[in-house]
Symmetry: C2
Subunit: 529 residues, 2 copies
């Protein structure tokens, strides 16, 4: 078959065949070379050229201190375009796009920004992108990146003008258990109509059982900034008006203020009681010439009430002041204080109020420069006019309070008003009667959106009359010797009031349940977390 | 014997006798007339032309509201000479001079002014002066008078340039029991040498049993203004540094922080426990992304300690913050805060500090711009150098703390310093170990005048490592599920500290007993008043 020995010349078809085979072999070799090349490329890629740009950090134990500047997401604007930043944030959500790109929504408190990472020669490897996409929501990461102006507003983040192109990504604190609910579910509008099966509604109890997670929603971050603000505005107003802050003991030797339920404490070999209010202590401070005092402190109520507005422990904003001429000095000062709080919130916390509104839809809280003051009698008359049976109005119950709120809103265009001159029979023993009508008293309640937020009065400073009133209400004066002693040694006329911080917060924002206004609420059924 | 019938002329002696008798009659008549005049004068005086200018007012029930301006004693200066003023004040002391004049020392909080009243035709009667002189010390009066420049400085009052000439004096609130001690006795220097029998020393227990009276001394008025100031300076500094105030529950479902004694509360059908600190809650707030938080609230310690510096209830100034790089961020921030407090007190409360100094003599509190920071090891070395046996220095006890304070004072000329890097074994389970030496920890104590006022540290934020450390210290991780859950869902590195408000106040002023820095102190033996 060889052509070398001179015999027959190769046929045309044989030549064609040989050419074909040569071609085939060449293609095969080329393919092999290509495969080899690809294999080499793959091997090169597997080296992961991003090592040193991502990963889990060792537990932070304060190893070094370089004082590198950290960026606050809320400050980012288009003017930061091109700036390199370093920041610590939660991963709110992450979304892998194919295997070359990942989007992360980064969150700090109430603020979020979009960040992205895409495979880039020599810097961002596929491995790095894959790892970033695998991080659990709520992980805390340290991000180094470059701020880039976004071509169009980013709707999914609170920072809409820019995004961050990630250069390095480090896991600072991971998630070691399944999230009981997603923050997305926990952040949905409470007032929007529910579409069956569309998404999970997170029940209040589930939230409170997992309060640390729940508190991370932008809504809760805003709610507790506002709680902080109310306390500060309260203090600022009173400091400016010559008040001093006091701290009275919560452990009491005897159960104070007749009737109301009080928690009992094992106190070494005896018993103590938790103060239901700083009422007695702040009056004693007045008898001790402190003139004008306030206190912000927990108060305890052992009442087995399981309503939207009762807790067994809440924060009392209490104040008390000497009176020169008339208890309306006190009523008017408190009124001025509330208006200062409302104004301060509206002017300085617009962003936080707007964040809460997204979840808890509500009309903006309204008040008037001149607060409407109704007497109790006038309030009753308004309710009667509105169709309530006068017989039922010895006191105004919760339902009628709300009705009164609606009537006043319609009549005076305000969510905030005062009812003055309550019947004496409805008030505690230390309440000063009206000078002209002994069935009435020098006392008042303040209302927000038809719910009482503060109760106050002129107090009796005359010890003999106080004893008389104690006995009339079934309180033994001997059981309150320390309190009475203060008055026996001379005490100026005085009055004050007590405010529930969480109630003010709940009603200002219309949160509908006081537990939402308390960091870790306590009620008869809840002592954890 | 008549001479009318013309007989003998009267004898010389008879004439003399008649003249004498006439003289006698005349004198008698004159005397009678004088007596009559005196009687009339007395009758006129008894009419009491001062009626309507003095007396006891009816119980103040807010009858009228004239908005008359009241004067603050502290504002009175020579420039007010001739001005008519109305003010409410306590009678500190009164002194009758004969029956025509009375001096009253009038007091408002830390300020006093001399007032006087003397019998004046048509206005101030003897009755009025006598009544004024009869008013008990500590009575509350309403005084109307004219300010008069005093010819020489009045040493017995804080206002030395003027006195008040009383026109009207009304008793607003009287004294219905004997004063257990005089304010004069209660205000004497605690540090001056006692002269036997010269005056009564009022014991601390007597003071605390009658705390309302005791609190009226100018010393106590100043102490509690300073307590108020510390709280406000603490908050101002932290607010400026991006912290928010939280309010954590004092009622806990389980006994927190192993070992330390905790008060048990009857909670409906179960039990609750009073929080010994907001430690767990504030760490949970950090896990909930609050970033930087503080709290001012009561903390409860069921420790049967009866020392000068322990109470069962005190006010905790607590703070916690996320760490970016190193726990010294926290340590340095707290240091900055203390210096801001000291500076604020020194600059804005000079008067109050001076008032306290009169009763509690002390060198002015000293601090340096650059606070000395010793490591625990360096502190131990200093004590060893000073003669303390090294064997006894596994921990630094109270006595050695004081000694260290003296050494540091001598070496650095400061009453304020920091000890860093405590042995891990001395700290609670949640303390972060040192990254290089696991027997040490990232923790620190702050000292004032040789007593610890704050303890703090970086905390463990890694849940697995935290469980490990809990078990090592005999704490069951299952008993603290709510706390651990926070870390399992991701928590940034963080640290903080807790300060005892009363300790800072006591040591700044050198009051020597913490009860003096508490409004109504509580200890194992005291729950009243």
């Amino acid at each position: 078959m060889s052509s070398a020995d001179g015999g027959d010349a190769p046929t045309k078809s044989a030549l064609k065949k040989a050419a074909k085979e040569a071609e085939k072999a060449k293609k095969k070799a080329e393919k092999a070379a290509k495969a080899m090349e690809a294999e080499q490329a793959r091997a090169a890629a597997d080296e992961d050229y991003s090592v040193g740009r991502y990963g889990k950090l060792p537990m932070h134990q304060s190893q070094s201190c370089q004082n590198r500047e950290r960026t606050d997401i809320s400050t980012l604007t288009a003017q930061d375009d091109g700036k390199q930043v370093l920041l610590r944030a939660r991963i709110q959500t992450s979304r892998l796009q194919g295997n070359k790109m990942v989007f992360l929504n980064l969150r700090q408190c109430t603020n979020t920004v979009q960040a992205l990472m895409s495979v880039t020669k020599d810097t961002i490897s596929k491995q790095m992108v894959k790892w970033a996409g695998s991080l659990a929501d709520e992980s805390i990461v340290l991000v180094e990146g470059v701020v880039k102006k976004s071509p169009e507003p980013i709707k999914s983040a609170s920072v809409s003008e820019v995004e961050i192109h990630i250069l390095e990504l480090w896991l600072l604190s991971g998630i070691e258990s399944r999230l009981p609910f997603s923050l997305e579910d926990a952040s949905r509008s409470e007032t929007a109509p529910e579409v069956e099966g569309q998404f999970n509604r997170v029940l209040l109890d589930t939230r409170l059982n997992n309060r640390v997670l729940d508190l991370r929603t932008t809504t809760n971050q805003a709610i507790f900034k506002l709680q902080h603000a109310i306390g500060n505005l309260f203090r600022d107003y009173l400091n400016t008006n010559g008040f001093i802050e006091i701290h009275s003991p919560k452990l009491q030797g005897s159960a104070t203020e007749s009737g109301a339920s009080v928690f009992k404490v094992d106190y070494f070999k005896g018993k103590a009681y938790l103060a239901q209010s700083p009422q007695l202590a702040k009056q004693m401070a007045i008898a001790a010439d402190f003139e004008r005092v306030y206190e912000i402190a927990p108060v305890f109520r052992a009442e087995d009430s399981n309503t939207h507005r009762h807790m067994t422990e809440f924060v009392g904003l209490d104040l008390e002041m000497a009176i020169e001429e008339h208890y309306h000095e006190v009523r008017d000062l408190i009124d001025g204080m509330f208006k200062a709080i409302f104004k301060g919130l509206k002017e300085k916390y617009r962003h936080e109020i707007a964040v809460v509104r997204q979840q808890f839809e509500a009309e903006e809280f309204k008040w008037e420069e001149e607060t409407p003051v109704l007497t109790f009698k006038e309030a009753v008359d308004l309710l009667v006019e509105d169709g309530v049976d006068r017989e039922a109005l010895d006191d105004i119950n919760t339902e009628n309070e709300k009705r009164l709120g609606r009537i006043v809103r319609a009549k005076y265009d305000t969510d905030y008003f005062i009812v003055d001159k309550f019947p004496l029979a409805l008030r505690p023993f230390y309440t000063m009667p009206d000078p002209e009508d002994p069935t009435l008293s020098n006392s008042y309640d303040f209302f927000m959106r038809g719910e009482e937020i503060m109760s106050g009065a002129q107090r009796i400073h005359d010890p003999d009359f106080l004893c008389e009133q104690m006995r009339a209400k079934g309180v033994d004066p001997d059981s309150m010797k320390g309190y009475l002693d203060g008055f026996r040694l001379g005490c100026p006329p005085h009055g004050g009031g007590g405010i529930g911080l969480e109630r003010v917060l709940m009603l200002f924002l219309k949160l509908n349940n006081i537990r939402r206004a308390s960091l870790f609420p306590r009620d008869p059924k809840r002592l954890e977390p």
